[in-house]
Symmetry: D2
Subunit: 305 residues, 4 copies
């Protein structure tokens, strides 16, 4: 099917107008000299294709949830057919969680990137610096209340992506059961009892805003918290820290940035962190490009600013 039947506006673009969708074949990839394969397939498909790609010497950036979780207890929710096989374990051991702000050097040398979930990206980037610095009282419990635009629910026409369901509405879903929870636990370093994560469906096309609530072990000042973030994200071009305002969805949509800001209670013990990104970009495709840049030795922000 020619691309322009799906996106008629591309007919004018001579490059795109001639592009065809082609059936997938390994031979085609080899003929074209593909070095890195982006996979945006269902999880099960990725479980099947990634081993073959690696065996053929093709590096993979996988946008599904297939290889994100190292702990089998966290992976259980996906119920992968090949769970427990030695091949799957071997592939999993090679996978690097593709969040440059946490795993920059490992990504550069990786053969398989598990590109992070959109919700997970927003929550991990907001929380990891504070937890890593030892500021957060984990026993007090963390709350991550996330809201996402409808594109996060995928392109399939379903009851929940119907305009009449989403418009003029807000709904919580996947309470205590959302599949991105495992990513939060593993990447932030938490027990399941230490965080509650609740996603909501927003009546907008794109964008995620996560409101994150933490208690500090010791009273903090805005300056001390800000310093922790700035140090953690020094050298991270795709995170924007807001020192004088809170981020909003409209600031980060159509960018590859994750925007992070916070507000402290007057007691210095409680903080509200707001983390925003575009679920289709920093939450998916352009974070994948950010990973590719690192794998190929390009500038990390190449093509993304």
């Amino acid at each position: 099917m020619p691309l322009i039947e799906i996106h008629p506006q591309l007919a004018h673009n001579h490059g795109a107008a001639n592009l065809k969708q082609e059936p997938f074949s390994w031979q085609l990839l080899i003929d074209r000299g593909v070095e890195i394969l982006f996979l945006a397939t269902p999880h099960e498909q990725s479980r099947e294709w990634v081993p073959e790609a690696l065996a053929r010497g093709i590096r993979v950036i996988d946008l599904s949830g297939a290889w994100r979780l190292t702990d089998s207890a966290n992976r259980a929710i996906y119920a992968f057919a090949d769970e427990g096989t030695s091949q799957a374990a071997s592939i999993q051991s090679q996978a690097v969680y593709g969040m440059p702000e946490l795993h920059r050097s490992a990504i550069a040398g990786a053969r398989l990137i598990a590109n992070p979930g959109c919700y997970a990206t927003s929550v991990i980037l907001g929380l990891r610096p504070l937890v890593a610095a030892g500021l957060v009282d984990l026993d007090h419990g963390i709350v991550a209340d996330s809201k996402s635009g409808v594109s996060g629910a995928g392109k399939a026409a379903t009851a929940k992506t119907h305009f009449m369901y989403a418009a003029d509405n807000l709904s919580a879903y996947g309470v205590f059961t959302h599949r991105h929870t495992g990513e939060l636990l593993e990447q932030i370093g938490l027990d399941a009892s230490q965080i509650v994560f609740t996603p909501h469906l927003l009546p907008i096309p794109r964008g995620i805003l996560s409101t994150i609530y933490v208690y500090f072990s010791q009273p903090q000042s805005p300056e001390s918290v800000s310093r922790v973030y700035h140090e953690f994200f020094a050298g991270s071009p795709m995170v924007r820290l807001y020192d004088h305002a809170l981020p909003q969805i409209q600031y980060s949509v159509r960018t590859n940035y994750c925007d992070i800001g916070f507000q402290l209670a007057s007691d210095g013990r409680r903080a509200v962190i707001v983390s925003c990104l575009d679920n289709l970009l920093k939450g998916a495709s352009s974070q994948a490009v950010q990973n590719m840049n690192l794998m190929l030795g390009y500038g990390e922000a190449e093509g993304l600013e």
Copy 2:
């Protein structure tokens, strides 16, 4: 100004077409035999008019924040000009917080009703039953993450009610400083350190959804939590409890109901409560009618179902 210049669709309605907006005067109220005055004025105006109305023997249902708070520390945020006068103290002592589910009998005999804030209604109704039953570990801290449609920001044309600000956006505001916080503390019975309340502006015309996070002192079952809610709201016709699904904004908009549901973590120690209502109805005008019904001895749900 004839009403039909503001609402042209009423021109067809012969009753409404002849209605005029009239300048306020006490004499007019007396001539018309008004027994109960609904005030939907700025806070300061209510501070001025309520004493006079009561002095003239007219009962008042005040929709502003003027008389909702009994603790002067909580009231400080309003910086009322008459704060600390004996008249203000005397009026305040007569005010009843107009939430029938908590103060039904006091409302019936009240001369002054302080009609609750919209956010406050959604959070208090979701939390009060659990706190009153002693289930909640208050030291663990409660989070109330609330989201409201734009009508909650009023009819004034401002930068924040501009379509271009609100549409396709989500933003947190008033973090740790929102004026409804005092209502939560007083009506639920909390210290300021025991709850964090964060309002957000949703890109929809109306509706509030509050996602509330609590830790229980002892593990609970869905049945035990449900029982607490059902007992608390027995005899409360305007609260709908959801035992098999979570409420959504679209279920409660254009009704006078507050819809409440919850989900329990598998450890029985953590719960997410979802509370929805229409900020213009149960969050304002129709809760005022509900109060009036009680004051006049009508059925509480009269005209509201």
Copy 3:
């Protein structure tokens, strides 16, 4: 399936909570003593069930397009399987187009009502009075530019009802080919060459606004045009005429009214008519109730104001 699994908010309503969806059977209708059957089925289903209902002595209000068109050329677009059979012709001859403002007395005595299309209702009510009065220069051509909310596209989850397709968008469709065109021709009394009708998909849940362009044979004044409308709709409680403003979608949504206003060019020869209604109410279900009221001898607006 219990109704409350589809609409959880009804669980609180004791009447609705016990309602079950029941499989259709003629025996059930007979056992319950059904006098009038509302059919909201696909067109083909109505072609099949209506003959049987009538044979069993049950009157039908059919909300599909199955029986709206008397001219077989106009019907061709539906390609009914039973087209041309004598039974279909016989049923068609009994069908009354269910627009009370045009066919009030025929509706009262009808056994089969073909409830009008939503777009058609808005255009016919805006145009028929002017054409019937002989004001419109038909050779000059009429334009009806209509815009509808997404509920007009039905409850099925399709590419076009996906939030990502409809939101932040506007698209024309069915240009020169929309199935409601035949209703316009037959009910207004036009040749196919005398009107161009273009529907558009609006990014809102509900509501239709039709902007209609006509040329008058003789110059008119606002008063003369207004008089024509008022005379035509005298005794029609469900049409609201706007003499001092134009209707908007938000005025008519959630009402059973069709709102009509117009603006005249200074030359008195050209007019723009704006006609608004709620596609789910006056454009469908509540117009069906309006028809039922007439069939049962109730007041036409009973339950609709």
Copy 4:
């Protein structure tokens, strides 16, 4: 005021973070060596500043309506204070209507560009090719039914830009009186009686879709109409012609393209043209850049694709 207080997301951008808003002064322009001044001011301000800029040898691209209309009858609607003065007449005579697709060579040499209105751009580009080719029966009358997102109404917070007015609504306005009408008449070459233009306010942030209705003097085929458009826009990089589908708002938003498609009735005599653009880009700022490119001898599409 620092730019980052208005747009906090720019704080991260080192270039933008240091930008200040500066008070306007001619000396500043001279000191900075400004060659071309973009004016996005109220009409009256442009009437005042443009003469001075030209006198100082600074070329101007004016985005207001101040200098778009050559016919004083069309200009009357603006009621300019300096209307009829010889200075105003002299400036007006130098102004070139900044639509490259119609006036490319005049723009290249112009000292004053009157940048077109957003609605006007969409309608003129859709109609001018057909009228210029003599296809359109002008006596039959043209209808241009245009719909615009809320950003077209400006950044001022008003009753009509309030979210509660625009959301879930559609309204026609300025019927027979909109100020862009004069641009249509002058640039397409029409008498006031030959076109009816009706703008509508869409509940979306940005984008214009104009549905245009014409009658042809002689029957046309899709091919003959398509040929006229392709010939007219040969060498126009910022117009995209749709031969196999109709444009939609979502295709052109956030681009500098004007997208044009059409559908022909089976009689070949009637056509519906759909023209889409982004009112903030091809309808304003990026069309201004397109004009600048021509004035400075750059590629017309430089920086716009």
